[in-house]
Every structure is written in C-alpha cells, then in structure tokens.
C-alpha cells in the first residue's frame, strides 16, 4: 500500500493538475477572507470552500492514469486497492491544503465574535475550524468518490454530478459539512466555540463512499 500511495502521490504532484484547484481555493480565500474579520466566520468560510476542491482533487487522482496504465497497476495490486490509494492521496492533499488555510486564517483573523465585542480564544477556535475543515475535506472526498470512475465514467455526467453533489453537501441540512459550518457561524454570533462532533459522521459517510467505489472497480468496465 505504501508503494501505491507513493506512486499516486508522485502522479498527482508531477501531473501539475493539482494547480487549478489550489489556485481556485486560494482565490476563494482571497475574496472571502480578510485580516481583521471575526475568526469563526472566516474559518467557516475557508472550510466550506474546501469541499468542492476536495471533490475536484479526487477527480484528478481518479483520472490521472490512462485506463491501460490503471490495468497494469490494478493487476499488480488489485484494482480496489489501487483505487483506494487514488482516493486517499486526494484526501491527504485536501487535508493538507485545508490545514494550511486554517492556520493562515487563524493567524490573520480578529479573535472576536461577529459583533467584535466578545473575545474568542484563538487556539480552541483554530481546533474547531480544523475539525470543520476535516469534515469538509472528508465529505468532498466522498462526493468525488461517488461521482467519478468507477461509478460515473463519462466526463459529461461526472462533472455536473460532482458540482451538484458538492453544492448539496454544503447546503442540505442533514449533511455533516453543513452542520459543521453552521455551528461555526452560529458560534461566532453567540461568541461560543462549537465542538463539531459531526466530523465523525463525515468520516463514516466517507469511508462508506470509498468502500463502495473500491468494491465497484472490478464490476464496471474501464
């Protein structure tokens, strides 16, 4: 598995296809986050923006190998394990990106509530932001795993499904990502730091989505 992860990570780095989603995320942050804004609001925003980026990263990793090369890797390691490595590398990339953004946002924001009246401790706020970011990275990965090969093969279906899935994951009220972001925003208004326990639910959902995608690798054509 280490060899597979290393191979997929090298593929992602070398392909330079990671650049567009990273630039998109940087643009999101540049537009929505400015220094001196209330910390929890900004953390909620940066976490939410990560979700579509994570889904896009999964798409990049899942389509990085041409089908013939994927068959070679699949025969050597098992197609399910090969696909698992793809998705995990994408999740790791999204988590890395989200962690860096959380740190940056925590440092530059104003450590107060929305009305700038109540002081908020930076460290617990940062940890809450990190958990929300993790929930969004996980859920974005789940959306990516469910809207790309082996579930959806043609880009004509995969891309709209990915965009729609990412949007729904952010706005539908049952979604752990939606819950985590709402908790941050409401916490900011009330000057309390929320504990986004729903990250755990996001992890379970994502694990199920990844397991489904990996199980289908030998059922669907390349």
């Amino acid at each position: 598995m280490t060899a597979l992860l290393r191979y997929q990570a090298a593929l992602l780095l070398r392909s330079q296809r990671w650049l567009p989603p990273v630039i998109l995320y940087a643009t999101f942050l540049a537009i929505g986050v400015q220094s001196g804004q209330p910390i929890l609001d900004s953390l909620g925003y940066s976490a939410a923006a990560l979700l579509p980026v994570a889904a896009w990263l999964v798409r990049i990793c899942a389509t990085n190998e041409p089908p013939a090369a994927r068959s070679c890797t699949g025969a050597a390691a098992g197609p399910g394990r090969a696909h698992l490595a793809c998705v995990l590398v994408a999740l790791a990339a999204a988590t890395l990106l989200g962690t860096a953004a959380t740190l940056f946002v925590t440092v530059i924001s104003d450590w107060t509530s929305t009305d700038h009246q109540t002081r908020i401790a930076a460290l617990p706020a940062g940890i809450a932001g990190l958990l929300a970011t993790l929930a969004c990275a996980l859920l974005g990965t789940a959306v990516g795993a469910l809207t790309n090969w082996p579930l959806l093969r043609s880009p004509g279906r995969a891309v709209p499904a990915l965009l729609l899935g990412a949007l729904l994951a952010l706005v539908v009220s049952g979604s752990p990502a939606h819950a985590a972001i709402t908790a941050l925003v409401e916490g900011s208004q009330r000057a309390t730091i929320p504990v986004p326990v729903l990250s755990l639910a996001a992890a379970l959902l994502t694990a199920a989505a990844i397991a489904l995608a990996c199980a289908l690798t030998t059922r669907r054509s390349a």
């Binding site: 060899a3 392909s15 390691a77 669907r220």
Partner: protein, 311 residues
C-alpha cells in the same frame, strides 16, 4: 496427485451493465504453475474480457474465480501519458509489485536493456514512441517475476528483436514455474510451445489443442545441447521439463533435445542450476533423420507410459 492450481474459473460469466449481453458465459479454466495457454478468437469475442477476469481486473458476474497469484498484465496499447521517465515509472511499478525500491530500479534497467530500450530509461514517457512505450509496459510486467503473466496482444507494436525476446521470456517464465496466458493475432506466435490453446466462441471457451506432455511440433527446429552435470547428478526437473528428449551419452553427460524457442531457457537453467552444469556442446539437430525418428518414437513410448502412470 493434483497439482496445486494458481487460478481456477468455474462457470464464469461476465457482462457489462445490469442488462448487457453476456460477453462470457460458462467458462471453466484451470491454470497450473508452468502452464502456457493461448487464447484465440475473432475480434470482439471476449478474449480481452477473459484475460481481464484472469488478471483480476474484472470480477465474474456469475460463477467463481478462486486463487489470486501474483499477477502482471500487459495491455495491447499502452498510452504513455504519464508524467514520469521510463525508469521512474518502472521503479514505482516495481515497488507496487512488491520489490523494494533499489531492487525495482535495478530490475527496471535490466528489463529495459533486455528489450533494447535502455537508452530511453531517462526519457519522459510522453516522448516515447508507440513501440518504446509498449516495451515499458512489457518490462513493467516482468519486473517482479509474477506467478501469472497475462499478455493481451503484448507483441503489438514491438520491433522484431523485442518480439523474439518476449517469446524467449515467456518460455523462460513458464520454465521457472509461472503461468502465462496470451492472446495474439499472429498464428506463428510461439508455435508449438503452448500447452493448451483455447478459442472464445460465442462467449464460451473451446479447447482447441492440448499437449499431454510438452512435445514440440515435429517440424519445429530443435537444438541439441550436451551438458555435464556434477558428479552423479540427476537431471533436475525444471531442466527436464524444458527439453523434449534427454539421453545419457556418457557417465554424467546428458544430451538434451530442445525446441529452438526454449534453447536459451534451457541453457540458462543448466548454467543457473545448483550446482551448475557444464555445457559441453550446443548444436543443431544431427542430420540423420532415421535416428531422429527412432528417438521420437522412443519418446512417444515414454510419453504413453507416463500417461498410463499418471492416470
């Protein structure tokens, strides 16, 4: 006594989609160590699907596939749109196949050299010609000495030398106990060497030819190799398996009759045996047809006896 099988397909059927037509149906196939199996069939009959099932890339829709040997697969066309040099890609794949990284890098260089592509080791894959990428695909499969080698028209696009080399490698791998399953549209590919030939017809598998013992076709050129073993040594099994005839010419000296396609593998096996054999002479078949015929008859008798024994 039943040999341990690498892989067994029982009543395997495969279709794509929930209501798609059956590409394969009712396929039974047993793959034993050392087997060389050829699969034939017209375009679109499901040969590639069968190979994908054998390589573990496709799961059977119905039926069972039991056993999962260490497998390597060579696709027919290997597009090189990967952001690595040939050597980097092969090192990664060698590690995926289970080698440690230094061993993978060494194996990569060795196999590229064997297929005459050593000069492309540091070339980005995107700049490789079609044939050179195919050599990388072939090398990828051979890095870690797989137990099962699945070749889906792997010869396509290779130059003449590389085609011959791949035939030699296939014989070598089967000699070392690996199973090889291949599809190729050239009927002369490995003529007389496969242990069994199957045809995919209407999604079912027909046995076209099977060798009871590994006999070469009588009109194939053969090579005579005389080797001297260590004191009082028996001929090792893996060497005897490659030869079609073994005759003790003097004390400790044996003469092996071997199809030309396998001669290199036999020499390698002799020299690589522990303790190694001494190769005394290598020559073409002696131009005495009567003797050759007598030998062939004697062999056929031996074969018949062995058959009786094994049944």
């Amino acid at each position: 006594m039943e040999r341990e099988l690498l892989l067994r397909l029982e009543g395997v059927g495969r279709r794509y989609g929930l209501r798609g037509p059956w590409v394969l149906r009712g396929v039974d196939l047993e793959i034993a160590p050392g087997a060389l199996i050829r699969v034939e069939g017209a375009n679109g009959t499901g040969k590639s699907t069968l190979l994908r099932v054998l390589a573990g890339l496709d799961a059977p829709t119905e039926g069972r596939a039991t056993g999962r040997p260490r497998t390597a697969y060579v696709p027919e066309r290997f597009p090189a749109a990967l952001p690595f040099t040939a050597a980097e890609y092969l090192t990664h794949l060698g590690a995926v196949h289970g080698l440690d990284r230094p061993a993978a890098a060494d194996a990569a260089d060795e196999w590229l050299e064997r297929f005459g592509a050593a000069e492309y080791a540091r070339t980005p894959m995107a700049e490789l010609s079609k044939g050179s990428s195919q050599k990388v695909a072939v090398a990828q499969a051979l890095l870690a000495e797989p137990q099962l080698l699945v070749l889906d028209e792997a010869w396509t696009g290779l130059d003449a030398d590389a085609r011959d080399e791949l035939e030699r490698v296939v014989v070598e791998r089967t000699g070392a106990g690996a199973a090889v399953v291949f599809v190729d549209h050239d009927p002369r590919r490995l003529t007389g060497v496969p242990d069994a030939t199957y045809a995919v017809v209407g999604g079912a598998l027909d046995l076209r030819m099977e060798k009871v013992l590994s006999r070469a076709a009588t009109d194939d050129p053969v090579v005579l190799v005389e080797g001297q073993g260590p004191y009082a040594a028996q001929v090792p099994d893996e060497i005897a398996k490659l030869a079609t005839g073994v005759e003790e010419t003097a004390s400790g000296t044996h003469r092996f009759t071997v199809p030309e396609a396998r001669s290199d593998a036999l020499l390698r096996a002799l020299l690589g045996a522990r303790p190694p054999w001494h190769v005394v002479t290598v020559g073409a078949e002696s131009p005495v047809p009567a003797k050759a015929e007598a030998e062939a008859e004697a062999e056929a008798e031996v074969a018949a006896e062995l058959e009786v024994e094994s049944s």
